[in-house]
């Protein structure tokens, strides 16, 4: 028998030869040093190629900050949402659709104010919920019923409003319908806050199941069939300490002169917390969600508010330069702590300064309390 050709050796190693051929190769290799060496080399090539290619799995999306950890591909849940282009921006759009189409959050007085303050966030492809962060100033929420949709409210713990849309109904349509629809519906819906009402959020933990009718292209609808539920979570910060005057958020914002927390930090936390490894509290970056920019025209006060909010953005980095985190913000609480809110994964961390360069706090993940330490580092941009 002639020496084995390389293709046959690889086919053999790949188990692609039929039994008869395989045993012929095996016999030959057993008695032929040249071919045994070629097989050994081929094994090395097979393993080496696999190893090289697996390095490609570490391909991040452009904006989504990757949490630390291994191969991002395998960590992504195998959901149709992923396939249906659930990129951060799109998820943000979808979140707006869910919120806007399914419910109208109406707060007494001061229409549009909530819109001003809501920070639109996004979900990564991990099926993490999209989040709208509301400031402490938002004291009460009411879910209004929208035509064609149902909304149920339930009393309970005061912190969270969950708006969930079963994807079977929303489907890929919401996602692919994308920004234009999102912007439109956002405009249509009236979302307002009353920043003067002092009462706490009493109707918290409100779950609204919104069933939106997909109105697009039936093909896309079909493809949505097994999609996971898209959840949009609207969180209002629990009023901390004593009855915080609702205006406190704004007051803090406008009186925000203490910039000592601004800067870059190395984050120490269990990777389960999903926090970036480095982040920075920014005051000088103006980052506005394009969706928010398309919100209804605003009075002057509103613009001031937006600017204020934007100065408290958070950037993050796992590698390379800091990138603004969509939907993340930080704020100084009345008691001097810093609240860091991250949209994806949805985390809220209250941090206590323990020295000039250290902030210590914790966050809760699946009922586990994860300590979080931020150590100031040199900012390199």
């Amino acid at each position: 028998m002639q020496h084995l050709d390389e293709g046959t050796i690889h086919a053999w190693l790949d188990g692609a030869l039929d039994a008869e051929e395989a045993s012929r190769v095996e016999q030959h290799v057993a008695g032929c040093a040249t071919c045994a060496a070629a097989v050994a080399e081929a094994r090395g090539l097979v393993a080496g190629a696999s190893r090289i290619l697996s390095a490609l799995d570490d391909t991040p999306s452009v904006l989504a900050p990757r949490s630390s950890g291994g191969g991002s591909t395998t960590r992504r849940s195998s959901s149709l949402w992923n396939t249906l282009r659930l990129t951060p921006a799109r998820a943000a759009a979808a979140a707006v659709i869910v919120v806007a189409a399914g419910t109208a959050l109406v707060l007494r007085r001061a229409p549009n104010d909530l819109e001003d303050r809501a920070i639109l966030a996004s979900a990564k492809g991990h099926g993490a919920p999209a989040v709208m962060e509301l400031p402490p100033a938002v004291d009460s929420l009411r879910i209004a019923r929208a035509p064609e949709r149902t909304a149920t409210t339930a009393g309970g713990a005061p912190d969270t409003l969950v708006v969930a849309a079963p994807s079977r109904a929303l489907g890929g349509v919401a996602v692919s319908a994308g920004r234009s629809v999102a912007a439109k519906t956002a405009q249509e819906s009236r979302v307002a806050a009353d920043n003067k009402v002092r009462d706490r959020v009493t109707s918290a933990d409100t779950v609204a199941r919104s069933i939106a009718k997909g109105r697009e292209d039936s093909t896309r609808q079909k493809s949505a069939v097994s999609a996971n539920a898209l959840e949009a979570v609207v969180t209002t910060s629990a009023p901390s300490a004593a009855p915080a005057p609702a205006a406190v958020g704004r007051a803090l914002g406008s009186a925000f002169s203490n910039v000592s927390s601004v800067g870059c930090y190395a984050v120490t936390a269990d990777s389960i917390a999903g926090l970036p490894q480095r982040l920075s509290f920014d005051t000088n970056r103006v980052q506005m969600s394009p969706l928010m920019q398309r919100a209804p025209a605003a009075p002057a006060a509103r613009n001031a508010d937006i600017a204020m909010r934007d100065r408290r953005m958070v950037s993050s980095a796992t590698t390379g330069a800091m990138t603004p985190m969509i939907g993340a913000q930080w704020e100084r609480l009345a008691d001097g702590r810093i609240r860091l809110s991250i949209a994806s994964p949805a985390r809220s961390v209250d941090l206590t300064p323990t020295s000039n360069s250290t902030l210590v706090g914790s966050t809760t993940v699946d009922a586990r309390v994860i300590p979080v330490t931020l150590q100031r580092i040199e900012c390199v941009r």
């Binding site: 390389e6 790949d14 080496g48 490609l56 630390s68 282009r85 069939v225 590698t319 390379g320 150590q375």
Partner: protein, 176 residues
């Protein structure tokens, strides 16, 4: 409908990984994967599911790539290089990973399109028959194709590593 669900659950992940590796762009990869499954929905009957899906995805990539191949490839490379090289004060393992990815991408670009696709499909577990079907090759030539692809990839990668030398500085970082 249950068929598409089955198809999706079974093949989405490997297909996306194949595309991410092929394209170096997750968003783009997921767009192609989506389009592939949309086409699968329209398809009355699919005989060799995995080969069909990978073939459709591959053709979609080729169609798009034809349009703006050079520009996109260039941008991908720039982006990966930038990620690897601009990392100042980096978290060490991440920097290494970014560099690995950039090197792997460059090595992969040294392969012919067909070799590259065959290899990436094989890595996702397609057997020789499926690869042959997807790429319209003869089954007999798949072994040779893969052998050539693996050798080129490994050799190109080694050459790149040697050309680069070692990169020394490592920042400190605290995340666990």
């Amino acid at each position: 409908l249950s068929t598409i669900e089955h198809l999706f659950n079974t093949y989405h992940q490997p297909l996306v990984r194949y595309l991410v590796r092929r394209l170096g762009d997750r968003d783009w990869a997921e767009e192609i994967a989506q389009e592939t499954f949309v086409r699968a929905l329209r398809q009355e009957q699919i005989v060799s599911e995995r080969a069909w899906l990978f073939a459709v995805a591959t053709n979609l990539v080729r169609d798009e790539a034809r349009k703006d191949a050079r520009r996109r490839r260039h941008l991908e490379l720039l982006r990966e290089q930038a990620r690897a090289e601009e990392a100042v004060d980096p978290e060490p393992t991440s920097l290494e990973r970014a560099q690995d990815a950039a090197a792997a991408r460059r090595a992969l670009e040294c392969l012919s399109e067909r070799d590259r696709e065959a290899l990436l499909m094989r890595e996702e577990g397609l057997d020789y028959q499926e690869i042959a079907t997807a790429l319209e090759l003869s089954v007999g030539s798949v072994g040779t194709t893969l052998a050539r692809a693996r050798r080129r990839l490994v050799e190109a990668h080694e050459a790149l590593q040697q050309g680069k030398g070692t990169q020394g500085t490592r920042g400190t970082h605290a995340a666990s």
